[in-house]
Amino acid sequence: MRITVSTEACVGAGQCVLSAPDVFDQDDDGVVEVLAAEPDAGQSGAVHLAQELCPSGAIAVQD
């Protein structure tokens, strides 16, 4: 699993931080920050939820 994000598209809703706090954070500008670009398989559910809930489509996940 590999995660890429678009900081350009991010609208700072924070859905990813709520869904997968070990994988995503928000920087001081409120913009998405990836803590683990290739997280453990155990994070798969949380990461896919974050991707689905992101309101601006800023998260891409490659399985």
């Binding site: 609208v11 700072g12 809703a13 924070g14 931080v17 709520l18 869904s19 954070d25 928000q26 001081d28 500008d29 409120g30 913009v31 939820l49 689905e52 809930l53 309101p55 601006s56 489509g57």
Partner: protein, 393 residues
Amino acid sequence: MSETGEQLVVDFPLRKEGEPFPPPRYCEYRRRDGLVLSYLPDGRPVWLVTRHAAVREILTSRKISSNPDREGFPNIGETMGVPRQDQIPGWFVGLDPPEHDRFRKALIPEFTVRRIREMRPAIQGVIDKVIDDLLAAGDEADLINDFALPIPSLVISALLGVPAADREFFESRTRTLVNIRQSTDAQRDLASRELLRYINRLIEIKSKWPGDDLPSRLLAGGVLQARELPGVLLLLLIAGHETTANNIGLGIVTLMENPQWIGDDRIVEELLRLHSVADLVSLRVAVEDVEICGQLIKAGEGIVPLVAAANHDEEVFACPHLFDPGRSARQHVAFGYGVHQCLGQNLVRVEMELAYRTLFERIPGLSPAVGAEGLPYKYDGVLHGLHALPVRW
């Protein structure tokens, strides 16, 4: 208006007095192929969107605009007697990308998950004080006027750095503005002008004597112009006030009926989905021809995504009318979707969590003072909620 196949034609208002919410007819709309044609009170046609996937598609489409100045935009607020605020510079919910993005980017640092977590003690302090006042006043109360409305008002005034001496003024004017049943159009108009004048003065004060608050940081950031700040601050105030109060009030009713869930972490998300207070808020207009659910929407046609209908879509939420915090409710669109998704969503989550927890902990004997059928539900505005919630303990 383009029509393909057999269309169901319905009239506004969509909600009728005495009906449950969401109205049973949303179910019927959702089961039909395509979209539903409706007519606003002024006679203009609009498309109603009720399915979860279709609502998300509308709210993320670049061919669809949030700009109320565009020809064909469904100005339901105006036609239902709520004053329009969107002529003020800085009212950025009415802007499309890329103009919108400058405002959003300037504000998101104020509403991150971390920043809101840091605000928890201050929010708890507000709630404790409101409950102190409730308990001091006797053994009965109207939890809308005495609990659900003061909480967001006091939290927003803290966020905006309103000095303690001015909070009563601020709270009374914001209350007049949102309490539609207890104020006249003229009173709301006056309150709105007084608030805007106050906000202008607040900005002057913060530019001379900056504090640890949102307006001071926006001024220092320099991304937004001084003339845009009053609109931004008024928008934060209005967007975060009645919506939050309605969620708090309706949630209390649901929790008094389902006390076994009090204290569970999952109630907030399910209450947001179940009550969907901002049903008629995310209005749109097509700027290019776009096909949704097999229906061609032509450029210039108005669109009304009904978030309560989407949040009760059986394909996504089984037995959607049931309060079941055990379900996975987070796919709800109670905060909208797309680039305009509620900026303050993490703040309202914490306000709801702490409000319920503190209320039921400190007043365990809380019970309704009127039967469920006697509760005065709002059915004539853009938001779902309660006008009053009489309780005793």
